[in-house]
């Protein structure tokens, strides 16, 4: 409490409710009922509708309109009628109910109310806790995942030995980046003689998710990692923990780990990796030539950060400032460990900001720019909002006539939310194709700011 940074608005001050809403949005026939006050609705809609231009955010969400009168008289009884009327209107495959802290403080038993409705309604109804005082967006996503996994029948036998199901894929929009990633995962697995099964979550309807238990191998992506023990208990299976397949080294390692667990022949795995790596290296040569030595500030959650820094180093760029978004997916040590798994390391004195505020991002970037030590930045729209309030002359220099002499740092949006980066065609950021995708984005990145003449 003795540091003002503790109180400042963070670049990722997104709580569990946002994570739950992202998870439910990723199941196209799910419905989210928010038992909350008027302001909390925005936790589910505002950022997500900025981020996902492909699918409507609001027409599968409702709220129970709790005000002070409902709070005083008790609000539990409101849940049932709302569930019933929305079920009738929308005919969802799955309904989820969340409540928020100020209602939880009353001690009402919402979970039991939801359980009763689950017994009465023709679709599955789950309760996902979403207190706003702990956890973060990733914890919320994982909580929703836990409840959905719990609703599947894991007693059924494995019937599809070469199928691979996935828990914890962070599917936050129906745009080309995720469609591309899923195609990449399919392609990588196919090269090993395997196939991608149910992926939680991936834009697949609830019924499709019920196929997850039949797969011969279940992968646990990093966004499921904080609840790994719970998933193991629920699925009664040994889950294979994997990093995101990002960068050449990260993707090749992912293939090795998955292939080995699926008992694919070592020779086949090596052949696939050699062939794919050779293809990618041939194409990224020109990118490396132009990007070599550029210094970058990178802001992302730990799994994405590991992948991003791996491929930046492969492309010859140097991270000089790192910010870790959120706090439930690990901190600096987990980031460095993950990078080491891909065979890379960064200097010990590299500044690593843990869940930084907008102010901290702004000041750290300003310091690097003032010392001419930064060429680009990768982060979510929130980090960019923090730095675009800096005066224009922080980014560019002026000649004696007052004209800008060069272009400012490159700016690439990634993570959640993206305000300006939207994609219609499949554009993966994972897998070998993802490496080339990032190379293209880096080569063609917009600038803050650009006089349009320099190169």
């Amino acid at each position: 409490l003795n540091d003002l940074e503790h109180f400042r608005l963070k670049t990722n001050d997104l709580g569990r409710l946002t994570g739950v809403s992202i998870a439910l949005h990723a199941i196209p026939d799910a419905f989210l009922l928010m038992h909350c006050g008027v302001g909390c609705k925005h936790k589910a809609t505002s950022k997500l509708s900025t981020h996902d231009w492909a699918e409507n955010v609001v027409d599968r969400e409702g709220w129970t309109e709790v005000g002070d009168a409902e709070l005083i008289e008790g609000s539990t009884h409101r849940i049932g009628p709302y569930l019933r009327s929305w079920q009738k209107r929308v005919q969802p495959g799955l309904m989820a109910v969340i409540s928020v802290t100020f209602l939880d403080l009353t001690g009402d038993d919402y979970k039991d109310e939801v359980r009763q409705n689950d017994e009465e309604l023709p679709c599955k109804v789950i309760y996902v806790p979403a207190p706003g005082y702990d956890g973060d967006v990733y914890a919320g996503y994982a909580s929703a995942l836990v409840e959905v996994v719990k609703s599947l029948d894991w007693t059924q036998p494995v019937t599809h030995k070469t199928e691979v199901s996935v828990l914890g894929y962070l599917f936050d929009r129906y745009e080309g980046d995720h469609l591309g990633n899923l195609a990449q995962l399919r392609s990588l697995l196919k090269a090993l003689g395997l196939s991608l099964g149910a992926t939680l979550f991936s834009g697949a309807p609830y019924a499709k998710l019920h196929e997850a238990p039949r797969a011969g191998l279940t992968l646990s992506f990093p966004y499921a990692a904080p609840r790994a023990k719970r998933f193991k208990r629920l699925t009664k299976r040994e889950l294979l923990q994997v990093d995101l397949p990002m960068g050449i080294a990260g993707t090749s390692r992912w293939l090795r780990v998955v292939g080995k667990a699926a008992q694919v022949q070592e020779e086949r795995i090596q052949a696939v990796i050699q062939h794919k790596e050779a293809q990618v290296r041939k194409h990224i040569g020109m990118a490396r030539q132009h990007l070599e030595g550029q210094r970058v500030a990178v802001f992302a959650d730990v799994p994405l950060l590991i992948g991003l820094c791996t491929l930046l180093l492969e492309l010859g760029l140097m991270p000089v400032l790192v910010g870790i978004r959120g706090h439930t997916l690990g901190g600096e040590q987990e980031f460095r460990d993950g990078l080491a798994r891909n065979g890379f390391s960064l200097p010990d004195d590299l500044p690593v900001l843990l869940s930084p505020s907008l102010h901290a991002v702004r000041e750290n970037v300003r310091n690097l720019l003032d010392r001419d030590q930064l060429d680009g930045m990768i982060g979510a729209a929130t980090e960019f909002n923090a730095i675009t309030t800096l005066p224009a002359d922080t980014f560019v220099q002026y000649d004696h006539r007052g004209e800008p002499t060069k272009r400012g740092l490159f700016a690439l949006e990634t993570g959640f939310p993206c305000k300006h980066y939207h994609v219609t065609r499949p554009s993966p950021f994972m897998g070998y194709a993802g490496v080339m995708g990032w190379a293209d984005r880096l080569l063609n990145a917009p600038r803050l700011w650009d006089n349009g003449r320099s190169r």
Partner: protein, 391 residues
């Protein structure tokens, strides 16, 4: 409150007194002052034990010492209301100790209020942080469309020798809000939605004049005529816009000859916004601009479709002198069906409604994409024309 102040320039601070996720009720990826926002980050233990004063004291004290803002606004949230936190006492004490003006507002979502009420409360609070009675010749604009600083009205008033104190809220800094009370008169998009602001400014001797929202040609002309009369400019404003008016009229004539009589669905009460120009005039501020284009307009109003509510909307519309057909639909989920049923040629929708219109196969535009003032009319019409031509 947070939505409105986050894009306000100036050295101020906003503290959200509650659990950290309460800051998530507004967006952080837009707004030039997001980095001046704070949260007391109350824990479960602090909320259940009622020990919420200490984090608030520490936060406010450090803001005063380190940021040295001109003012601090503390916004209360649902959890602190539920536990009965009298946080205004702490705020007053720290303000007295540090000498930094601080205001505590009970802004929780427990008390349902309208967008209009919130805007009025927010604007009034910001004005209250300044002092001084009306003086000089400066004029202000309240609740007008964004882009005011670089707009046509700013240019023509400057040409006429009139000094503008600011465009509120858009682009107005904390200092400009504090100085608004010293303007001689202000032009307001809708006096009825700002009762607190009106009372405060009139008490300081300021003249407040309502104008139409300047969308389309006829409404914009009345907008300028109203200002002209109030400032005794003898028609100077519209005279300086003769060329723009002629081009606008020509564009309207062409548009009417091509598209007059086509069916336009105009949605109301759909937007999650705290933009005062959108909220003004019951959301009907652009209606005249579409009427002058010859559209056959149906109003699609989001609301409860109960017979008494439908009747109430009828009464409200008739009170505005409107006899347009209207239909009530319960929410975004039903908009697509509603649009399909109406077989509209074009839809003016808000926010998420664009996707519903797209699914219905009806060309649509968002009302906030329309530009205000006379000079923008041809551009707006080119846009609508493109939508209708390439459907």
């Amino acid at each position: 409150m947070s939505w409105t102040m986050i894009d306000m320039p100036g050295n101020f601070a906003v503290v959200i007194h509650g659990e950290f996720d309460c800051v998530n009720c507004f967006t952080h990826h837009t707004g030039r002052s997001a980095f001046r926002y704070y949260s007391t980050r109350l824990t479960e233990a602090q909320l259940t034990s009622g020990k919420t004063a200490e984090p608030l004291r520490r936060c406010l004290t450090m803001i005063a010492e380190e940021q040295k803002p001109e003012a601090v606004i503390v916004l209360g949230t649902c959890p602190v209301e539920v536990i009965g936190d009298r946080f205004q006492q702490e705020v007053e004490e720290i303000s007295a100790q540090t000498g930094v003006p601080m205001v505590a507002l009970h802004t929780s979502g427990l008390r349902m209020s309208t967008q209009r009420e919130m805007l009025d409360w927010c604007f009034d609070t910001l004005i209250s942080l300044g002092d001084g009675a009306s003086e000089g010749d400066q004029v202000g604009f309240i609740g007008m469309p964004p882009g005011g600083q670089s707009s046509e009205v700013t240019r023509v008033l400057k040409q006429a020798g009139i000094s503008i104190s600011g465009h509120f809220p858009e682009g107005a800094s904390m200092g400009e809000w504090q100085g608004l009370g010293r303007s001689s008169r202000s032009f307001v998009s809708d006096l009825a939605i700002f009762p607190k602001v009106v009372e405060r400014l009139r008490a300081r001797g300021q003249a407040l004049i309502e104008t139409p929202l300047p969308y389309g040609l006829a409404a914009s002309q009345r907008f300028y005529t109203t200002i002209d009369k109030a400032l005794n400019l003898d028609g100077a404003l519209l005279s300086s816009l003769t060329d723009e008016s002629q081009r606008a009229q020509q564009a309207i004539n062409n548009f009417r000859s091509q598209h007059g009589g086509k069916r336009l669905a105009l949605t109301l009460r759909m937007r999650n916004t705290y933009r005062s120009d959108v909220v003004a005039q019951d959301g009907l501020g652009q209606l005249e601009a579409y009427q002058e284009l010859g559209f056959d307009i149906t109003l699609l109003v989001q609301g409860a479709p109960d017979p008494d509510v439908v009747e109430a909307y009828g009464v409200l519309l008739r009170a505005r002198g409107l006899t347009l057909p209207f239909e009530i639909f319960p929410g975004p989920f039903f908009l697509q069906e509603c649009l399909e049923r109406g077989a509209y040629d074009l839809a003016c929708v808000a926010d998420h409604g664009l996707k519903s219109a797209r699914s219905a196969g009806i060309p649509a535009f968002d009302s906030v994409a329309m530009s205000p003032y006379i000079g923008s009319v041809p551009r707006n019409l080119a846009r609508l024309n493109a939508l209708l031509e390439h459907r």
